[in-house]
């Protein structure tokens, strides 16, 4: 039954993915006046541009161009980065783990702080802890992540010197053998606890920066969800039948409330990836985000395109996962499919 649910959901994602391909195709072929020149970058000679035009089939009909493009995209062939002179797919593969590590860390912080705080605010509805948390969550959504990053660097790295300023690992610490690509995982697998500690210290500031906005929205949604659930008949019933308060709130109410929060976590993932672009650049985090900013600054269109497509796909996958978790939490949804 779960398999059928997943397959169905994947099938539903196909049109969006095709839409994504069309959109990125339009982006790279239609928006710039001369795509070949745009692709070649500012420093290209006319010969190089002409060669590119031929190479990418820009002299052929548009629909044919699209199929060539789509075929390449499906085979993860995004050409070469104008900056690193390596295949874009290879660059991305190498940098993806760092981004995922940062994103997961931020997500963990947002959820493990955001959900309990949201429940707390709901239980203290319209009392001062509720007002305070609402204010904080409004702040968290309204603050510019790049500015928070700079302020945290200023305070904790430059003034107090408690945490490292930038990067994933200190220069003095040799990186662990690359197994999974995830620095923390690899350093644990190879028993390099010095690298693990150093890596963790480097992770704190970027992860906290990135988590801020996400945590704020999780607090809001958990609070709203819990308030909503507390109105339900079954909560009155459970109270009347003497459920223990703690178990009533943290098990029976919370699981009903998280459905809205789960949707939010799915959206959050996209938000974190987008927010990560700037945060990674500021902390010099060797992931997709700093790669993207580099591509923006150097006008590396191939990279821009690949990253946009990648993020779109990640978004679609996360949406499927969100629906799956939704189905697991709420059995009614699974039965309906």
């Amino acid at each position: 039954m779960i398999l059928r649910f997943v397959l169905r959901r994947c099938a539903l994602a196909v049109p969006s993915l095709i839409g994504l391909l069309v959109l990125t195709f339009v982006l790279i072929r239609v928006v710039p006046s001369d795509p070949a020149a745009a692709m070649a970058g500012d420093a290209a000679t006319p010969e190089q541009i002409a060669q590119l035009r031929h190479e990418y089939g820009l002299d052929r009909p548009v629909w044919e161009q699209f199929f060539v493009y789509a075929g390449k995209a499906v085979r993860l062939d995004f050409g070469e980065s104008a900056f690193s002179h390596r295949p874009v797919a290879l660059d991305i593969a190498q940098r993806l783990p760092a981004t995922l590590e940062l994103t997961f860390a931020a997500m963990a912080i947002s959820i493990f702080l955001g959900v309990p705080l949201g429940v707390f605010a709901a239980l203290r509805h319209n009392q001062w802890p509720d007002f305070a948390l609402r204010m904080v969550s409004v702040l968290g959504v309204a603050v510019a992540a790049f500015w928070v990053a700079i302020m945290l660097q200023l305070l904790f790295a430059m003034e107090l010197g408690w945490l490292p300023l930038r990067g994933e690992l200190s220069v003095s610490v040799p990186p662990p053998v690359r197994l999974s690509g995830f620095l923390l995982v690899d350093s644990l697998l190879t028993g390099r606890f010095d690298a693990f500690g150093d890596g963790l210290a480097h992770l704190v500031l970027p992860a906290v920066t990135l988590a801020l906005g996400g945590m704020a929205s999780i607090v809001r949604f958990t609070r709203a969800g819990v308030l909503d659930t507390l109105q339900q008949d079954f909560v009155t019933y459970e109270r009347a039948m003497g459920y223990r308060r703690m178990r009533l709130i943290w098990r029976y109410v919370l699981r009903n409330s998280v459905t809205a929060t789960i949707t939010q976590i799915g959206l959050l993932f996209g938000g974190l990836i987008a927010g990560g672009v700037v945060v990674e650049a500021i902390y010099d985090w060797p992931g997709i985000g700093s790669y993207t900013v580099n591509a923006i600054l150097t006008g590396d269109h191939q990279v821009m395109l690949a990253v946009t497509l990648l993020i779109g796909v990640v978004y679609a996958v996360v949406n499927i996962l969100t629906d799956l978790v939704h189905g697991l939490v709420d059995p009614r949804l699974m039965d309906r499919s």
Binding site: Q232, F234, A240, M241, G242, Y243, R244
Partner: protein, 320 residues
């Protein structure tokens, strides 16, 4: 013999934006062991508040201002929240809610919800396996289809009537002395309603429990109850044996209610006017503005309940 439940002079008010609203003002009732007491009234008369007060789950804005709620000899109003949870709710008082479709937690298996109740309230020394066994035999007695794997299913996989049976099983799980049922059949269709009523009567006789049955339907009272207590605008207006009250109602409100009942009267009359707002109660008799027998005194003095020849206690100046 002391009654299972005795409520006397209960007053409950709610804090609202527009001031204090007196929702219950001098409600009294008595439920003898092994009997069924019907609490009757229109919606908004304070029935739900009464139930919530007995179980100590009044909302935060509500206060009990006066009165006593004595259950098996103990005044529940002096119990702390923790004591109520540990000793009363779910264990010695079972509860059957109004809407079976909304009262089960949709994202948990039926079993985990029923076992949650037994986990805290079943007699000490019993194991989870004992609890499961007890629940399965209850479900079988209550004619829930597939009693052996019912606990592994989710609420939405049962029909409304079946869910009401699950909730009855939950109420009975820890062998309570008292079961409170809050209009448990209003959300069901007529056939199912009838089945559930029959079942409840059988269970009361079979298991030696007492049942407090809240309803707005006098037909249900006639079919199920031994005694009845009629509430109007937060006050008990007439109470006594079902026979006496239904055959020869003394209070004009009870008479009006009976006249509304389609099975009992030739013409469907309805009662003119509405229940007064708990923010602005009439100073005299609360039913006076809607009553057909009003005298000048009714608008001035609040009558007290007196025992009539029929055996009913009636709050009315007319000696009917």
């Amino acid at each position: 013999m002391i009654p299972v439940l005795s409520v006397q002079g209960l007053k409950v008010s709610f804090r609202t934006d527009a001031g204090m609203a007196s929702v219950l003002d001098d409600v009294g009732l008595t439920l003898e062991r092994g009997q069924v007491l019907g609490v009757v009234g229109e919606s908004g008369c304070g029935k739900s508040t009464l139930i919530r007060a007995i179980m100590g789950i009044l909302p935060g804005a509500a206060r009990v201002n006066a009165g006593q709620i004595v259950f098996e000899g103990e005044n529940l109003l002096v119990f702390t929240e923790r004591e109520l949870n540990q000793q009363i709710r779910g264990s010695r008082i079972g509860f059957i809610p109004q809407d079976p479709l909304l009262s089960l937690n949709p994202v948990f298996k039926v079993g985990s919800q029923l076992l949650e109740i037994m986990r805290d309230h079943a007699p000490p020394g019993t194991s989870r396996a004992d609890h499961i066994q007890r629940l399965v035999s209850l479900l079988r007695r209550l004619q829930v289809p597939g009693p052996d794997n019912a606990l592994e299913r989710y609420p939405h996989q049962f029909s409304g009537g079946q869910r009401q049976r699950l909730l009855i099983a939950a109420a009975l799980a820890c062998s309570p002395g008292l079961v409170i049922a809050d209009e448990p059949t209003t959300a069901l269709d007529v056939t199912t309603q009838h089945e559930i009523l029959l079942l409840l009567r059988e269970l009361v006789d079979e298991l030696d429990i007492s049942l407090l049955f809240v309803t707005h339907d006098l037909g249900v009272v006639a079919a199920l109850c031994d005694t009845v207590c009629v509430i109007y605008a937060g006050q008990t207006v007439e109470s006594g044996p079902v026979e006496a009250v239904l055959r020869a109602p003394s209070h004009p409100y009870t008479q009006a209610l009976l006249a509304c009942h389609p099975e009992r009267s030739v013409s469907f009359t309805g009662i003119g006017g509405t229940v007064p707002s708990p923010l602005r109660m009439p100073t005299g008799c609360r039913f006076a503005p809607r009553c057909g027998y009003t005298e000048p005194i009714c608008a001035v003095a609040l009558p007290i309940a007196t025992r009539r020849k029929s055996g009913a206690d009636v709050r009315c100046v007319h000696s009917g």
